[in-house]
């Protein structure tokens, strides 16, 4: 008999064998790529957006939010940050999507809160990916999706048809406010997308502490859980602040005269009537 050798596995593709060889390091990089580049960026992004709640000076159009946006745009080699983020997102999402289908959820049978958390982590990951893509496509690449008009800051004063004299007019807050005030669907889209993304990060932070071996006792897992829940609340309140800021912004009353002029150039047929009757 020549059956002494165990049956050999079917020959794997080069990609499969590469993934298998580096299994451990890929898993850890997957964890790290979610927490550090993507997660920290989202924290900063939400904090910047939260500044919208302070509004702006209706005579000059200056405000904290505009100041933050200008700071980000003044950073050197911003495109490197942007492309690194895309790299991290592609890596994290690609592997994450694959990992998702190595498991089979069973919440129906074992309806523990932790098991639900496991399933939600996978669902929110997919929601977050779709959300981030649509968010960037509409606001950054200016795709016209579902008929939403979602202009981006960079295009705000540089949009075709805006005379050079207006290129210093800050438009970040008015245009973001307009994008969100057009339809409650946009608000809902952001509510679902941001909640899913923030949950995914906070829960990922909690499970990463177990995977990396930081929280090695049930008690420490619980303590770290409170920290992660606290982060969730903090980030969601930043989000709430930005939403309130954008929704309470009165396009007719709170814009400066220059801003109104640029706004009317960029948005020739505003879907929200600008009530300029009581302006000082």
């Amino acid at each position: 008999m020549s059956t002494a050798n165990p049956p050999k596995k079917s020959p794997a593709t080069p990609l499969c064998s590469l993934l298998e060889k580096n299994h451990f390091i890929l898993r850890r990089l997957h964890s790290l790529s979610g927490i550090v580049p993507i997660g920290l960026f989202v924290c900063m992004h939400l904090f910047t957006n939260a500044q919208m709640i302070w509004g702006q000076d209706s005579t000059t159009g200056e405000g904290t939010f505009q100041h933050e946006v200008d700071f980000i745009h003044s950073m050197p080699a911003l495109f490197i940050i942007e492309w690194s983020l895309w790299g991290a997102i592609a890596f994290h999402a690609g592997l994450g999507f694959w990992y998702t289908f190595t498991g089979k959820h069973n919440v129906k049978r074992y309806s523990y809160a932790d098991n639900l958390r496991y399933m939600l982590q996978r669902i929110t990951g997919v929601i977050a990916l779709v959300f981030i893509f649509l968010h960037v496509a509409t606001l950054r690449w200016r795709w016209d999706l579902f008929g939403w008009f979602t202009p981006f800051y960079g295009e705000g004063y540089q949009a075709p048809g805006v005379p050079h004299a207006f290129h210093d007019v800050p438009m970040s807050l008015p245009l973001t406010a307009y994008a969100l005030q057009i339809s409650w669907l946009v608000v809902l889209f952001y509510l679902v997308g941001v909640t899913a993304s923030v949950y995914h990060w906070c829960n990922g932070l909690w499970t990463a502490a177990i995977s990396w071996g930081l929280t090695i006792t049930t008690a420490s897992m619980k303590r770290w859980g409170f920290v992660c829940a606290g982060l969730f609340v903090a980030l969601m309140s930043f989000f709430a602040a930005s939403m309130i800021g954008a929704l309470k912004f009165d396009l007719g009353q709170d814009m400066s005269a220059d801003q109104i002029e640029v706004f009317e150039l960029i948005v020739p047929e505003s879907r929200i009537p600008l009530d300029v009757s009581n302006r000082p």
């Binding site: 069973n106 995977s211 071996g213």
Partner: protein
């Protein structure tokens, strides 16, 4: 004198049966009289003695596996009303009261190949114990003198892991452990820690960690934490997973700088 006739109280047992590993599964229903303090094994014994379904059909007796009948061997593990557990420690009356139904549903574990009916082949778990070298490396050919001592704290922690009976509850409830992947699961991870913490067993620690960092290793854990909740021996499985995770982190850093 004739005893007053009282109709015997009964309940129904629905059993998912399967004639062999690749055979289709089918359901059969049996009526079983209520007896005090009757566990699932005695219910199955009654059915084996009276293998007649509720539709009056005479069938082959149901096959199941059991051993100790006191929840320490793990052999009789099956899925009772959707939840994995040892059937010997499951009392029929309590189970009926818990679910509030008039029947009990018995199915084999879903993560292992079915031998027949409720009897599954848990070989994968024992293979995994071999993979992680779940033993202390002494060959017993000569006297090595007294072994290293353990502190009471170490003993207390390791005792918990020593309670594992390889029943498979943790794997049955685990969303990451499936029939078609190679995840090693909580049972083997906890046993790797158990032997890594043993003063002599430590000699194989690095080999165990190499195995656990490969495909199907600890990194495949999804932290759903069902394992620790269904473990009948209350083994702190999630702590074991986290501790092996820490050992792996240290191991990876060490290997990066010092392995050849």
């Amino acid at each position: 004198m004739i005893a007053p006739h009282t109709p015997e109280k009964t309940f129904l047992v629905r059993i998912q049966r399967q004639d062999g590993e690749s055979q289709p599964a089918y359901w059969q229903e049996f009526e079983v009289p209520v007896k005090p303090a009757q566990n699932i094994i005695s219910v199955l014994q009654y059915i084996a003695a009276n293998p007649v379904t509720t539709s009056g059909e005479q069938v082959e007796p149901v096959v199941w596996d059991s051993g100790c009948l006191e929840e320490v061997c793990g052999a009789c593990t099956m899925v009772v009303d959707g939840q994995v557990r040892q059937s010997c420690s499951c009392l029929a009356n309590e189970q009926l009261a818990k679910t509030g139904k008039d029947h009990i549903e018995l199915t084999p574990m879903t993560k292992f190949p079915v031998v027949r009916d409720l009897f599954v082949d848990r070989q994968r778990m024992f293979d995994n114990l071999k993979k992680i070298k779940g033993w202390v490396p002494i060959d017993g050919t000569h006297d090595l003198g007294p072994g290293p001592t353990e502190t009471p704290e170490q003993q207390e922690e390791r005792y918990a892991y020593s309670r594992c009976m390889t029943c498979g509850c943790c794997l049955e409830a685990c969303p990451q452990f499936t029939k078609d992947n190679e995840f090693i699961g909580a049972q083997a991870i906890a046993q790797a820690l158990y032997f890594n913490q043993h003063e002599t067993g430590k000699k194989l620690k690095s080999e165990r960690l190499d195995e656990l960092s490969g495909p199907g290793g600890v990194a495949d854990c999804g932290n759903a934490q069902n394992c620790v909740k269904v473990c009948p021996k209350e083994i702190p499985l999630t702590q074991a997973i986290a501790k092996v995770g820490r050992q792996l982190t240290v191991h990876a850093v060490k290997s990066f700088f010092s392995s050849k």
